[in-house]
Symmetry: D2
Subunit: 386 residues, 4 copies
Amino acid sequence: MTELAAVKAALKTQAVETPSWAYGNSGTRFKVFAQQGVPRTPQEKLDDAARVHEFTGVAPTVALHIPWDRVEDYAALAKHAQDRGVRLGAVNSNTFQDDDYRLGSICHPDAAVRRKAVDHLLECVDIMDATGSRDLKLWFADGTNYPGQDDIRSRQDRLAEGLAEVYERLGEGQRMLLEYKLFEPAFYTTDVPDWGTAYAHCLKLGDKAQVVVDTGHHAPGTNIEFIVATLLREGKLGGFDFNSRFYADDDLMVGAADPFQLFRIMYEVVRGGGFTSDVAFMLDQCHNIEAKIPAIIRSVMNVQEATAKALLVDRAALGEAQASGDVLGANAVLMDAYDTDVRPLLREVREEMGLDPEPLAAYRRSGWAERIVAERVGGEQAGWGA
Amino acid sequence: MTELAAVKAALKTQAVETPSWAYGNSGTRFKVFAQQGVPRTPQEKLDDAARVHEFTGVAPTVALHIPWDRVEDYAALAKHAQDRGVRLGAVNSNTFQDDDYRLGSICHPDAAVRRKAVDHLLECVDIMDATGSRDLKLWFADGTNYPGQDDIRSRQDRLAEGLAEVYERLGEGQRMLLEYKLFEPAFYTTDVPDWGTAYAHCLKLGDKAQVVVDTGHHAPGTNIEFIVATLLREGKLGGFDFNSRFYADDDLMVGAADPFQLFRIMYEVVRGGGFTSDVAFMLDQCHNIEAKIPAIIRSVMNVQEATAKALLVDRAALGEAQASGDVLGANAVLMDAYDTDVRPLLREVREEMGLDPEPLAAYRRSGWAERIVAERVGGEQAGWGA
Amino acid sequence: MTELAAVKAALKTQAVETPSWAYGNSGTRFKVFAQQGVPRTPQEKLDDAARVHEFTGVAPTVALHIPWDRVEDYAALAKHAQDRGVRLGAVNSNTFQDDDYRLGSICHPDAAVRRKAVDHLLECVDIMDATGSRDLKLWFADGTNYPGQDDIRSRQDRLAEGLAEVYERLGEGQRMLLEYKLFEPAFYTTDVPDWGTAYAHCLKLGDKAQVVVDTGHHAPGTNIEFIVATLLREGKLGGFDFNSRFYADDDLMVGAADPFQLFRIMYEVVRGGGFTSDVAFMLDQCHNIEAKIPAIIRSVMNVQEATAKALLVDRAALGEAQASGDVLGANAVLMDAYDTDVRPLLREVREEMGLDPEPLAAYRRSGWAERIVAERVGGEQAGWGA
Amino acid sequence: MTELAAVKAALKTQAVETPSWAYGNSGTRFKVFAQQGVPRTPQEKLDDAARVHEFTGVAPTVALHIPWDRVEDYAALAKHAQDRGVRLGAVNSNTFQDDDYRLGSICHPDAAVRRKAVDHLLECVDIMDATGSRDLKLWFADGTNYPGQDDIRSRQDRLAEGLAEVYERLGEGQRMLLEYKLFEPAFYTTDVPDWGTAYAHCLKLGDKAQVVVDTGHHAPGTNIEFIVATLLREGKLGGFDFNSRFYADDDLMVGAADPFQLFRIMYEVVRGGGFTSDVAFMLDQCHNIEAKIPAIIRSVMNVQEATAKALLVDRAALGEAQASGDVLGANAVLMDAYDTDVRPLLREVREEMGLDPEPLAAYRRSGWAERIVAERVGGEQAGWGA
């Protein structure tokens, strides 16, 4: 197989999971701008996600969020997905929208609230059993707003205890993916604020516990690809929540703010063997002002383009330049791949996959956008609180 | 008058404006935690604000937010305030919560939306006429989320045009306070992102246009007291929106995150003559998880303490050390004031003002908290969308 | 002229000024790593700069730094340059390396030190007269390290006074370019920390005073292209000091850290008419660990590539998408230009200019690198202190 | 023992290690301003450090830096210290100032350079054997400036290998303290950039490897006290390098930029048992423009004041408020301690220790400053390169 053929083959196997909630309404604390045609049910979210996969060919799974996607019959939901050509993916828990969680969930000072939070997480594993999902994705909004509000260390103890109970419940082949975030909604301490904290907890829990990197959850200046390389080296990179940001956790389309950074991240994934392992590539974005389905298609394409560039890096030449201390030469090898316009290559890949080479144009022609606006009338649109 | 007497006299004249919306519910994009006893009407907000003034003695005015505080009869609202010992303060506009404002208000590409936004601002001046308010406070959520989304420069042109129309409408003794903010809710460009932009616009508008500094609206590392000193030097500091933050626009209680910074800011105010001029000192905070009225009382006290310390700086000694290039000596003079425990002094000030020396304890004893929980049942609690 | 021909024509007229000091040694506070073949005299720096222009065709001028490039006979220096095909460019002052400047220069509390600093600036204008340089570039290291160390406002007064004296000295056709910087070497206040401060001073000085944007001198998260658009709109953008950074003022090669940002900046330059005006495009970088001449060639090429992409933006399509509020469409128009591989176009441009299409390869083949290592033996290598 | 007596007793046992290099000249990359009276030898640095201990009573040890403090006879150096009432403390390695280290030391692509670096570290352990020092403090300047320059993961492998060899060499009772730093002098990747990386390496090395927290080495917004609490909980906090910063690694006097943060850090130390354990409290500062010995005395006092406030926190009341979810109450308990003026208490403590209550005044009266200016004439002043 030629090198280019190998790159193409790799790109054809790529899988980017889209999140059910990105198809619903979202916004900032100032305003949620509702859009027409937004899904009203988990089933309709899957219908939209299926369109993304139909036109990109690399978005085969859909992440659920409980309780936003709570249904009576998860097997039926899985069937609904399957009928449309997609599968259910990671199950995301929610321990931040109940009034009880004002001061935290699994780290709350009150044992009763902690019990409730852990029970919810256990319920999520039950749902995973029903859906056949591999990954339980845990993001905790837990933290404090004011110095002294709660004891930093005690909260870590509570976190460790709660995680351990959930970990024990995981079945064969199931994983716990622990996400970290610098801040928001907590504004002084966050109980899992950085990769180090997530890593330390996962290490103690065991092999089924892995760290998930949300690309928008770091302090300014953080070198994310370094974290990716380190977690891969430690065997602890469980997956990504992709999005992009100029400021804080802006949740813009991945690749929109700093495409070079996305490329560098994907290069470390490729270099560290993450592309062919169990690392989960997920989107976690908010399309507050732009059309949601096209934005998600575009995001998937952005990940593809960054991946294609990463796969095109001439690693032999790079290694040689690095070994000889040729700073400019090594940088030039990397930049040569980045500067390449990979869109023609991806058009070829799509055609070889039997897809339209232009996913966005194909989606627009499909009439889906008009159809959902016409059909999804009445009911309550999905959103973060739905 | 001794120096201490002068400090006390200054502290007794201090006036911190509290915002009506801080008495209502607020939250993050993830969740608004409702609290018991929260006001349901502008009148009830004024009732709460009156308590803050009653116990602190230095919170005599209340900022309104239109449309959140829209009433039929503003004169009656002013009377309601007056009957409770407070007055109506700045009028804050809102051009970010209507569906039309998805892509901006006064900077929107569509002239019709801009017209609507400017009309709202003009309405706010009408309200100022009715309430006798001096200040129109303008914060624009306008901006873009994606590179290319709109033309940066054209948006500035539109901004200038809209502001000019509103400026013309201002009456004698009325002012326009233009606020800047680095980001949020816009995540790529914000149309008034920094003091320089606000200053440039105000300069062209004229003397009635002034810059307002929200202490939470800067990039990491920004030296806020430098901006304060500069704006005072330029005669362009209109006022403050006080709050504090560890990360972004966290809107925590002022002085809670970095009390030394608040002190440095107040020192520049004192040094630059801002304390005895028309600079408006306002709070703009969100009490998402803590009890609102006590949090506002505490915030007012924090401003008092920082002011007291700033007033206590031995400026003669400071000037001497500065002039002689004594780095450590000059710093020590400033720190000596900061390290002073001014709470005893403020207790004295309050007693001399006929107040309880401990505002929070007095508030707690007053029974107000229990009363509003008992009485404010039913109706819709005030919040950002109310 | 077709559109592509117009783009090519524009690219052929581009001019990027390289700084004499970038050819000398530089480093961090921890270590300056000396390189072989580094110039020992201003003349040798010009010799190197001439190579950069020879191979790129778009680096016709060289910025001087006084006193590092102080010579007896500036006319002879200008002739030296001319003989090698380049010209002398902006004159950069230095008011930070004399022991007298420990607490500042033009803002120093001691009038004698201020006098010395202003005299140095006046001397720089004398040199401009001799070299025929248009621009006096002013960067002040002035500031304080500790709160209270000096009076923020008094320092502004001193700054204004000093600048006014120098401004008066400017001849016909000469300009003063005022640079701002967030921090370093001052670590608490910097006397010209942001574009607003530089702008306010330039506004008062007059038309010959303009702001210079160093791309590495901003707080994290600052939107630089917004500043560029604003300064162009105000007629106050004098020029750029290009470099790139991941953290602070890292002074890496321009385009190395965030090529998308450089493209966005160049787009605003093109959109705002800055590309065909008097805006000066200068490099200001430190090649601490990489070979200097190739790094500078690469930097010039990076600016060219970003400019080419900016010129390729389909502005009609962009304007249409923006006007119609098509967020994704407008973003896609911009990204389409950015994603284009412009290296083939630039190879064509170079060939049409009679240059080798691959400047770095041509430089390597020229033997210059080996020659300077062989010839520049003995003497004292140029560096920041030379 | 009353509570206050316990606080006093704790304060009397406090030990803050001062670094030999802080007594020498330092600066920024722009300029090192030499000061009069600066030590010229390791012995003279110890003489100065002895003054700091003499007047504060809590600075009994002095950190060495190799090769800056290299001597023929370390036993004699230890004796020199002992004769002046102080002891030799941690040994700091230097793998960043040799020309060989341009591309790194222990992580360098070339095995020969790595060998040299490891040999230097082993030499440092030899010196520890001679001086009786407990701690080897390792800070690596290793990293890269450009994407692609070297392989992130391979550098981690080299780091692990080098550390393991040094770890094996440690004797009974000796420790390895691994410091992390976000950036500088490397500007793209740093090989030990965050606590997570340092922690992961220390975990694999064993109990003698511990993390050291330099308070200036974090990304903007990082919650340092959270890291302190976490490392204490993990049993992996080896010590502190204290200093303060407004921007990057400014190396200002500890407590000068954010005294509230220093208090919060010290509170976590107290709460986590770090104050009575083997945690090393060291200064690592640069007194670029201020007098060095008084600055160090002031820094030691700042640590004392923060510690005193931390010890004064009413932990019973705090715990109660935290357990009951009283956000404002818990915060108030913490703030009550912080707002206390502890200078009178510390004056008492000093008097009970037989010291002058005002260390800076006593130092000034001692005539030491004048004496060293008079006596230390000729020779080469100590500095980072000495």
